[in-house]
Every structure is written in structure tokens, then in C-alpha cells.
């Protein structure tokens, strides 16, 4: 093999390695998002919403109040992500590109608008599933998004996925489900249709978002496209929250709590972790494709467990007591091992025949 061929091969491997690193960083940031995402529920800005709505509108049933609180949190999540990305793109000098892509509706921004709505559905569904059923169920439901994304990316974007890629995706899914199966077996699944619907929304939302974003990312800058996606999602939730407020429900009365330094810090961490998770996610798509990128990103389930154990302690993170410790801890460890196997298969695949992600 000539020197140039050798260098080309190394160059291609380097690109795939960059894509994998971006995918893993996505999983890390996504996993750590669960830490402020859990902490925020016990803060005054959230508990106050329950009290305010309960006082002002006692006729609203507790389930509906809970849904309203999820809307409030999802909206703030999107707004802080858009804010963080504004700072990010300003520093990188990409605001002129943001202006350009925003105005190219037919070529670009309509796809990011669709991605923003799909993402809104996914995040809202996650909060619904986590709060009505369990965080474990929400995480498993979210794990199904690579299945949706893979099918649509192959059919709609004409991207190619190898047999090994498909197997890796299935192994990662099996690992994620095993990870949380202990929690589901031992309890915490008292029925809630709303929680189940939230789970479906999470899976379809993230899967569809990957495909919508992938369509536009062929011709757009990833950081700018992502910023557009969050701007559209934030605008959507501002409209929804505005409509709810106008209807007489005091959903925004606790917004002043954001001036509390600790509350502001927690929401900034929410925005930073979620925004950077997406930055890495979108950056890995051009190098790995939607299917493999989403599959590597699904390591978030394992990362979420690890970070929650570190910051909240194993009992709070995994939700076990003396009776359920053995089954929950063992399924957690088994699930983590399976996830690592799936990731290794994906990372060690020879991708020389896949310089382009699109089938010929």
C-alpha cells in the first residue's frame, strides 16, 4: 500500500474516531443532565408551582397540575439551552451564520423547526414518564429512540447501516433495558397511562428529531442548526406557557425564583449539560450517521446511573432498599456490561467501506 493510501486510511479512521468521541461525550453530558434534572424537582421554583395552582385553581385535579409542572420545567429547559447556545455561538463567531440559516426557511430552518417540535415532544414525554411512572421507565423508553431513528434514516435519508451496526444497536438496547429492569421488576410501575404516553413520546420524539436534523445538517453548520432547534422549541414553550397564564393558571408565578443564585446555577447546569450533549450529538452524525450516532448516544442510560450514584448515592440513584438491593444492583451491573459490549462492537467496526454514509 502506498504512503498516500496509508495516510488516507489513517485519515478516515481519525474521522470515525472523532465521531465516536463526540458520541461518547454526548452520552456523558446527557447522563449528567439527570443530576440537575433530579435536583430541580425539590426546589422552590418547582414546588411553588404546585402550591400556586392548587390555591388559585383548586378545581384542577392533581394529575393535570403535575402535567402543567412538567410543561413549566420543559419550557425552562429549552430556554436555558437556547441561552447557553447563544453564548457558545457568539464566542465562536457563528451568529452571522445563525442569521443566514434562520432566513433560509425552505433549505434549512423548516427542518430545525420540525426538529425543535420533535425534541419538545421528547423532553416533555421524558419528564412525564419519569414523574408519573419512574425515572427508570423514562430512561428505557428513551432508549428506544435509536430504533425509530435507524429505521427512518435508512428509509428516508438513504443512509447505510452495516449488519454489525444493527447488532450493536440491538445489544445497546438490551443493555439499557437490563439496566433498569430491576427497578421495574421490584415495583414503581403502578399504572399511569400518562407515564406510558410520555415514554412513547420520548422514543418517537428523539428518533424523529434525529432524522429531521439529519436532513438539514447535510447543508448546515451543526452548532447553528442546533441553536435554531432550541430557539424554535423555546418559542413553542413560551407560547404554550403564555396561553396557560392567560387562561388564569398561575404557572409562571415562581419565575422570580430564578434570581436565587442556587436555583439559577441548577438551571444553568441543566442548560449547559443538555446543550453540550446536543452539540456533541449533532457533531457525531456527519461522521457516524444517524443510526450509529444515536446508538452511541444511548450510552446515556449507563452514564445517568453512574452520575446519579456518584451525586445522589446508590440508594437514591437506583431506588433500592434492603429487600430489593440484590436484584437492582445486579441488573444494573449486568446492563452496564452489555452496554459496554455494544459500544465496543460499534467502535471497533472497520468502516473503511463507509466513507460516505449514504448508499450508492
Amino acid at each position: 500500500m502506498s504512503d498516500i493510501e496509508t495516510i488516507k486510511k489513517m485519515d478516515h479512521k481519525k474521522k470515525v474516531r472523532i465521531g465516536l468521541i463526540m458520541g461518547i461525550l454526548c452520552a456523558l453530558y446527557w447522563g449528567i443532565w439527570y443530576v440537575p434534572g433530579s435536583a430541580v424537582w425539590s426546589m422552590d421554583i418547582m414546588t411553588g408551582v404546585y402550591d400556586n395552582i392548587g390555591t388559585a385553581r383548586p378545581e384542577i385535579d392533581p394529575e393535570t397540575v403535575h402535567i402543567l409542572v412538567c410543561i413549566f420545567l420543559t419550557g425552562l429547559n429549552a430556554i436555558f439551552c437556547a441561552l447557553v447556545l447563544f453564548i457558545w455561538n457568539s464566542v465562536l463567531g457563528k451568529l452571522p451564520e445563525l442569521h443566514r440559516e434562520l432566513h433560509q426557511v425552505r433549505g434549512a430552518s423548516k427542518y430545525f423547526m420540525a426538529a425543535g417540535l420533535c425534541g419538545a415532544c421528547a423532553v416533555f414525554g421524558t419528564y412525564l414518564a419519569a414523574s408519573f411512572l419512574s425515572p427508570g421507565f423514562a430512561a428505557i423508553a428513551g432508549l428506544l429512540y435509536p430504533v425509530i431513528g435507524t429505521i427512518l434514516s435508512v428509509l428516508y435519508l438513504k443512509q447505510k447501516v452495516s449488519k454489525r451496526g444493527y447488532i450493536s444497536i440491538l445489544i445497546l438496547l438490551a443493555g439499557g433495558i437490563t439496566l433498569y429492569s430491576g427497578s421495574l421488576i421490584t415495583g414503581g410501575t403502578e399504572g399511569s397511562v400518562i407515564g406510558l404516553i410520555g415514554g412513547v413520546m420520548a422514543a418517537f420524539g428523539w428518533g424523529l428529531e434525529g432524522v429531521c436534523a439529519g436532513k438539514a445538517l447535510d447543508v448546515c453548520e451543526p452548532d447553528v442548526g442546533l441553536h435554531l432547534r432550541f430557539i424554535f422549541e423555546a418559542l413553542f414553550w413560551v407560547l404554550v406557557l403564555g396561553a396557560i397564564t392567560i387562561s388564569g393558571i398561575p404557572i409562571l408565578d415562581t419565575i422570580g425564583e430564578l434570581f436565587d443564585p442556587v436555583t439559577l446555577l441548577v438551571f444553568l447546569l441543566l442548560g449547559l449539560s443538555f446543550a453540550w450533549c446536543y452539540v456533541c450529538w449533532y457533531k457525531c452524525f456527519p461522521f457516524l450517521g444517524v443510526a450509529r450516532g444515536q446508538a452511541v448516544g444511548s450510552l446515556y442510560a449507563a452514564c445517568a446511573v453512574i452520575f446519579l450514584v456518584v451525586f445522589s448515592g446508590p440508594e437514591a440513584a437506583l431506588g433500592y432498599d434492603n429487600d430489593t438491593m440484590l436484584i437492582i444492583v445486579s441488573t444494573t451491573i449486568l446492563g452496564l456490561v452489555i452496554c459496554l459490549i455494544g459500544s465496543y462492537l460499534l467502535a471497533s467496526e472497520d468502516t473503511e467501506g463507509m466513507v460516505s454514509l449514504r448508499g450508492e
Binding site: 498516500i4 495516510i7 488516507k8 474521522k15 425552505r106 447535510d218 453548520e221 460516505s356
Partner: protein
């Protein structure tokens, strides 16, 4: 078109005359290859320091899919 020519033209077009700007443009070309719109052609070692001395430089061309996408974008974006 060789990468150094692509970078030079796009740096002027988008006022990105910096090392960072050049790196971003290179990254964008790589993305277009991954997307299947551009393909890699001849390669050579940059012995003359045209772009990155001692590194591999590549000549790129549009694929059929890339040409179709370009025509589609011309209609949507209204370019010339």
C-alpha cells in the same frame, strides 16, 4: 478542486480569514463527503506548503447526489 482553493474561496465569501475559519471550512467539506454530496479524488502530500505542509491534501468534486442537492438548493435559496 483542491482543498486549499476551496478554503481560500470560502474564506473570502464568508469573511472567515483566520486559522479557525479555515479549520471550520475544512470540517464542513469533510461533512459534505460524509453526506455523500462531495467525493474525494486525488491526494498528495503538501510538500510545497500550499495548505498544511507535510500533511495530506485532497482534491474534491461533486457527486451526482451533490449536484442534485445543489440544483434543489438553488431553487429553494434562490442562489446564482
Amino acid at each position: 478542486m483542491w482543498i486549499q482553493d476551496i478554503v481560500t474561496k470560502l474564506e473570502m465569501e464568508y469573511d472567515m480569514n483566520s486559522k479557525h475559519g479555515g479549520a471550520m471550512i475544512n470540517y464542513d467539506v469533510v461533512e459534505l463527503v460524509s453526506a455523500g454530496m462531495v467525493k474525494e479524488g486525488d491526494c498528495k502530500i503538501d510538500e510545497d506548503g500550499l495548505y498544511h505542509k507535510g500533511k495530506l491534501i485532497t482534491c474534491y468534486s461533486l457527486t451526482d447526489y451533490g449536484m442534485d442537492t445543489l440544483c434543489d438548493l438553488k431553487v429553494k435559496v434562490g442562489g446564482h
